[in-house]
């Protein structure tokens, strides 16, 4: 097992890519601290992860032999994050891997000048500031042990623009900047920081993903039509599976990638290659 004995924190673990990552990590022998907001955020026009979904992720991981600590925490609440990480330390004694996965895709679907102040704020607060908050709490623990891997789940929208997704693209571009700068901060201290950039991910029913559906809704398109258009634009002619992203995360978490830091790894079927 490639992550035997490692403790991994995954944010946004209730469903989607977060759940896929948690499952992949537990299969590789890791123990898990799973965080999710477990509730809706004002201004986000679609239902977010629930406590029931988080419990389900935890159960699936336990069935694979992992010790799991699951906690509800809003990525925008620094004090709450601190309290959860204290618990993680008491339970597991250390943190080896942090996956900053929590993120939202909407409010979107309008031109940059049409975005309201509140819509702009919530997008950056969750997608960009949330990753920074977790890093500021967990980073020192890793630095003290001269060991650790931080994985920031960005997006192809961190590399290219998408029409009518200015806030989302700004937050995901920002995440790549955060990744590169933090990687330099931590490199002498043997803590690695990398970004993952998935392309459009299929809404897998097992992990209860709904990103594609929300994008379609933001663009006022039927899901099937949006999916069809998107698949045609993918060089590999298929959407990304959550498991594809999880496997890349396993590699970045493991010692196999011990010289990889500050890198941006795309899992996008070649979308950004052209």
């Amino acid at each position: 097992m490639r992550l035997q004995g490692k403790t991994v924190i995954v944010t946004g673990a209730a469903r989607g890519v977060g759940r896929a990552c948690a499952l992949a990590f537990s299969r590789e022998g890791a123990d898990l601290a799973l965080l999710d907001v477990c509730g809706d955020i004002p201004g986000v026009p679609y239902p977010l992860g629930t406590a029931s979904q988080l419990d389900h992720t935890a159960r699936l991981c336990r069935e694979q032999g992992a010790s799991v600590l699951a906690a509800a925490a809003d990525i925008r609440d620094l004090a709450a994050l601190r309290a959860v990480v204290e618990q993680v330390c008491d339970r597991f004694g250390k943190v080896d891997v942090l996956v900053n996965n929590a993120g939202i895709v909407a409010p979107s679907g309008k031109s940059a000048h049409e975005i309201t102040e509140d819509e702009w704020q919530v997008m950056l607060d969750v997608n960009l500031s949330g990753a920074w908050r977790m890093t500021s709490v967990v980073g020192p623990l890793m630095v003290a042990r001269r060991s650790g891997s931080v994985i920031n789940v960005s997006s192809t929208a961190g590399l290219v623009g998408y029409r009518h997704f200015a806030g989302y693209a700004a937050s995901k571009h920002g995440l790549i900047g955060l990744t590169k700068a933090t990687a330099l901060d931590y490199a002498p201290l043997k803590v690695r920081v990398n970004a993952l950039c998935p392309g459009s991910i299929r809404d897998d029913s097992q992990v209860e993903g709904r990103m594609l559906a929300e994008i379609a809704r933001s663009l006022d398109l039927p899901v099937t039509e949006h999916e069809e258009t998107f698949v045609q634009s993918q060089p590999m002619n298929s959407l990304i599976e959550p498991e594809d992203v999880a496997q890349a995360a396993v590699w970045l978490a493991s010692d196999e990638s011990r010289q990889v830091t500050g890198s941006v790894l795309t899992v996008d079927g070649g979308f950004t290659a052209r």
Binding site: D90, R91, A144, R146
Partner: protein, 1027 residues
């Protein structure tokens, strides 16, 4: 917590600062591994399953007791977190292997100082109702006894004696504040990257700790931490070959029944393994050191250790964690228990005493596979256990008398060093064996030299006749006859003639200085010397005869060799080797040894009549014994390499191809030049076997050779040997694998030879441990001529087998598969371009100079990666400052390759505190002597213009001279005048090649190697070119 200053953001702008950050100096790496190394754990399976009052009571007690461990408010807190008892419902039955893994995972989760509570606890609740409590503690908060007390109280037993008071006592103890970070840093400091060469670790393996276990034999005496520390110290001393190893002991608190004695920390224990001490005394010393309390690792301590004669670099290469705790005792309601003394081994080699589930004691070694191999770890534990037993049972045993190895191990070592029985052969004289070949194949070519060749029949016949001529001169059976001839066919015929006359040949190199030739003549008691050397220093009592004159004295016909009583066990030759006593010593080798050598190698190397060998080396160097007799005893064709060709790699390479040489014997230095020639584009030489000897081989230099000569087409064999054991002892076939690994292996002993590695007292050392190489078996020479005292010291009788053996003075280690690693000389002998040089011999010659009162000689390399820059540098304390005169005098006795390139006068020799030469404090050597100062007789070129005598760098005569001067200066790195002798300026054959290459690159001129030797000054070379 380490904070990163904002300056770091700009670190990348200044390379120097970045280096500092990356080397870890500014931000110490101290606690990287520490959490696991300073935490220990106890797991208890509850006899009655989950407590009837529910886990809540247990959890409340846990939280209360954990809170009690925290220091009072206001004190500097190492720990500040509150701890809770976690409950984990494990989805499997307690007897499944998954449950084992679950528990093991809980046992190794650390506690983080500075942040967490000092303990963490989890109650595992298995699917079958079984419950198991796992408690992990930081040693700074709870020692071993206190941890057990803590758990006992959780389970409803007596309140633990160690709580806040014990913590407070520890904080105040010994006037030093106990602080967890310091503790962690201490342990981190114990990872100095100790080499542990004896461990035979694989440096490229993953650094994942492994474990070796040795159950203590029934009846092994009970012992405490200190007794194990003493035993470990004795074993380390033997393994490291030092008198005062320092080991680290992670001393833990103890429960003496009344109170917990809070001693906890890393004690560095210098163990004075003085041979005169008894084990009992040693044990008392260790006890006193430990009782003095944890010795914090500081610079101060490092100095103390150094002052006490210990080796600070070796600090805590190995350490002891004492954990002989019966974990289940005194724990109410415990069905079974397991104690884990550390989560990560705190030392590179960590020894501990543990108990298995049944309570049986075991010696445990945790080690990194990069430092130790599993086999060595097992062996190490066996020896610690054995010494510990003796220590407790026979404490009066002197430390030096303790035996590490038992009879089985000694037998195993003997078998390892003696891989095969001798090949059978008919013992006879060398010349008789060659006569037999001559009789069966009289027309086969035996010797080729330049344009002519000698058949076996002719060789045998001519040698017979010359043997009669020698008899005519009065040579009798057993006499020693000097042979001082250049490499030629005549040399071979003469050597064989000496043997046929029943006599012993004593080879001398005509290039040796007069004094050395006359020393050899006198020491060997030579009455007859065959030489064409016009000025051979014979004297009145020596009959010096030229080869032509000897041929004239020979009968025109004869019927076989003169009759003789000399037998195969009588001496065949006496070869003089460099000696540390200041004078070369003659090694007497009988015929039968040479026949045994060929019996051992002929089959293995497939040597036979189809082979063509070279005679490359001087007959005064015993490598020539292998070349000459190895070829002729197997019916091969021997190509004698003219001296000038042997000095010119290009010419020698051409000779290899022209003569289709198949068996090539070389020193690595000479071979490097051949490889260079092929690199420059020459076609691969057609050799099928390369035999290395004469000096250590760094196999990495062979990579370009292998690129042109696949191992399937040409076998490369590295042979370790000594004149005193008849040329070769071991053989290692070198492949690309060895070359890539930079292997130091010289292979297994030849069949009939054996090797052993022993300590200074002559006791065999365990596998892996470095010591002196002893050689026994078929090759051991008879004695040193006229040196019975030295013979007695070096040629010994093996007390185990009664066989004769030679004590080599070479350092080596035996590998688990019986191969030998050669690690250089124990004394001051060095190899320079293939020559075996005893630095003490040079020093002794320098000291013979009445002006010199102290002398030191070093082998230096200006560029560590460039063998051509190696030179001998001498330092002298002398009356006046005429170092040139000192050099001139030394050159009268020493062969050219032993004359120091530089001699530097000092006011006094820098010494270390214990009176040894402190080589680090020697100044940079004075520039190489220039010709006007050196004036070495015979080497200062004749006909040198007067201009160079006092004018230093006289004006160059023409463009050719100017170009030469420029190139010499560039290659030699010193100012050059037109009359300076190339070789006096530090030039050597490798640098001569570079001069040739540099001139070729300039395109205008070339200088043949031969010309450079004949005309070693710029002016002479220029004149020679005109003429």
């Amino acid at each position: 917590m380490v904070s990163i200053s904002e300056q770091d953001a700009f670190a990348a702008l200044t390379p120097a600062r970045r280096t500092v950050v990356h080397s870890g100096e500014r931000i110490p790496d101290s606690d990287r591994k520490a959490p696991g190394a300073v935490c220990h754990a106890l797991s208890v399976r509850l006899a009655d399953g989950l407590p009837a009052d529910g886990p809540q009571v247990l959890a409340r007690r846990f939280a209360d007791r954990a809170a009690a461990l925290l220091p009072a408010a206001g004190t500097a807190a190492a720990f500040r977190g509150a701890a809770r008892l976690w409950t984990e419902r494990v989805p499997c039955r307690s007897d499944e292997s998954a449950a084992q893994r679950w528990r093991a995972r809980e046992l190794v989760r650390p506690v983080v100082a500075h942040r967490d509570a000092p303990v963490r606890g989890v109650l595992l609740h298995y699917a079958d109702g079984v419950a198991e409590l796992v408690v992990v503690a930081h040693r700074a908060a709870l020692g071993a006894a206190a941890l057990r007390g803590f758990v006992a109280e959780l389970l409803g037993g007596a309140p633990p004696r160690a709580d806040r008071e014990a913590c407070a006592a520890r904080t105040a103890g010994g006037g030093r504040r106990y602080d967890a970070a310091r503790h962690a840093a201490d342990i981190a400091e114990c990872h100095p990257g100790a080499q542990l060469d004896w461990g035979l670790g694989r440096p490229h393996d993953p650094d994942v700790p492994e474990t070796a276990l040795l159950p203590l034999p029934a009846g092994h005496p009970e012992g405490d931490t200190e007794s194990w520390a003493a035993a470990l110290g004795v074993v380390l001393a033997r393994y490291e070959g030092v008198g005062r190893p320092v080991l680290a002991a992670l001393v833990t608190d103890t429960d003496d029944g009344a109170s917990v004695v809070p001693v906890e920390g890393v004690a560095l224990v210098p163990v004075a393994v003085d041979g005169a001490n008894t084990l009992g005394t040693l044990d008392k010393q260790v006890r006193a050191a430990v009782a003095a309390g944890p010795a914090w690792y500081t610079e101060e301590l490092r100095r103390e250790v150094e002052a006490a004669g210990g080796d600070p670099a070796g600090i805590a290469g190995a350490g002891l964690v004492f954990a002989d705790l019966d974990p289940a005792a005194d724990l109410p309601g415990a069905a079974s228990a397991e104690y884990l003394p550390f989560q990560l081994p705190p030392f590179p080699v960590t020894v501990s005493v543990v108990r298995d589930a049944a309570g049986n004691r075991m010696l445990r070694c945790d080690f990194s596979p990069r430092k130790l191999s599993a086999g060595i770890a097992d062996q190490f534990l066996r020896h610690v256990c054995r010494v510990h037993g003796v220590l407790l049972e026979v404490p009066d045993t002197p430390v030096s008398d303790v035996r590490l190895l038992d009879e089985d191990e000694l037998d195993h070592l003997d078998a390892l060093g003696r891989p095969g029985p001798a090949e059978s052969f008919v013992p006879q004289r060398i010349d008789a064996a060659i006569a037999a070949i001559a009789a069966s194949r009289p027309d086969a070519v035996a010797v080729r030299f330049e344009d002519h060749q000698v058949s076996y029949g002719e060789l045998d016949g001519r040698a017979d006749r010359l043997a009669h001529a020698l008899r005519g001169l009065g040579v009798a059976d057993g006499d020693r006859v000097g042979v001082c001839l250049e490499r030629s066919a005549e040399l071979i015929v003469t050597l064989l003639a000496v043997l046929k006359a029943g006599a012993t040949y004593v080879p001398m190199d005509p290039a040796y200085p007069r004094d050395r030739l006359s020393y050899t003549t006198v020491d060997a008691g030579l009455a007859t010397v065959v030489t064409d050397h016009a000025e051979f220093p014979g004297g009145d009592r020596v009959r010096v005869i030229g080869t032509a004159e000897l041929a004239e004295l020979a009968p025109a016909r004869c019927d076989g060799p003169p009759s003789s009583t000399t037998g195969p066990d009588d001496p065949a030759y006496v070869i003089y080797t460099s000696g540390s006593t200041g004078r070369p010593k003659g090694v007497v080798v009988p015929h039968v040894n040479v026949l045994a050598l060929m019996a051992a190698t002929t089959g293995e190397f497939g040597l036979g009549e189809d082979d063509t060998w070279t005679l490359f080396h001087s007959s005064a160097f015993d490598f020539s014994v292998w070349e000459i007799w190895g070829c002729l005893l197997t019916g091969g064709r021997l190509v004698v390499v003219p001296y000038w060709v042997s000095r010119s790699p290009e010419d020698f390479h051409r000779l290899l191809s022209r003569e289709r040489v198949s068996v090539l014997s070389q020193t690595p230095s000479a071979f490097a030049q051949l490889v260079e020639v092929e690199r420059d584009g020459a076609d691969p030489a057609p050799v099928r076997l390369v035999v290395f000897g004469g000096e250590g081989l760094d196999p990495r230099m062979l990579l370009p050779w292998f690129d042109r000569h696949p191992e399937t087409g040409c076998r490369v064999v590295n042979m370790y040997g000594i004149t005193e054991t008849t040329v070769h002892v071991t053989a290692q076939t070198v492949t690309r694998a060895e070359a890539l690994a930079g292997s130091k292996s010289v292979g297994r002993a030849l069949p009939g030879w054996w090797v052993r590695v022993a300590d200074p007292e002559g006791r065999p050392l365990p596998v892996g441990v470095a010591g002196e190489i002893y050689v026994g078996g078929a090759g051991v020479a008879s004695y040193y001529l006229n040196k019975p005292e030295l013979t007695g010291r070096r040629f010994l009788t093996d007390p185990r087998t009664g066989e004769r053996m030679y004590r080599s003075g070479d350092k080596g280690r035996l590998l688990p598969d019986g191969r030998l690693e050669h690690l250089g000389r124990l004394d001051s002998q060095v190899k320079l371009r293939g020559f075996r040089i005893e630095l003490d011999e040079i020093r002794s010659v320098l000291l013979d100079d009445p002006q010199v009162t102290a002398a030191a000689v070093l082998l230096n390399r200006a560029d560590p990666d460039d063998p051509a820059t190696a030179q001998l540098d001498a330092f002298v304390v002398m009356d006046g400052d005429d170092t040139a005169a000192v050099r001139q005098r030394a050159a009268r006795f020493l062969p050219e390759y032993m004359v120091p390139s530089t001699i530097t006068a000092l006011d006094k020799m820098p010494l270390t505190t214990n009176g040894k030469l402190d080589t680090r404090k020697l100044p940079k050597p004075a520039p190489a002597a220039v010709a006007r100062e050196s004036a070495v007789p015979g080497r200062r070129a004749e006909g040198a213009g007067a201009g160079g005598a006092d004018g230093g760098a006289a004006a160059p005569g023409d463009a050719f001279e100017a170009a030469l001067l420029e190139v010499w200066q560039e290659v030699l790195g010193v100012p050059v005048g037109p009359d300076d002798n190339f070789f006096d300026l530090g030039g050597n054959s490798l640098l001569a090649m570079r001069v040739g290459a540099a001139l070729r690159r300039r395109g205008d001129f070339t200088v043949a190697m031969r010309d450079l030797y004949l005309r070693p000054t710029v002016r002479q070379l220029a004149a020679g070119r005109v003429g």
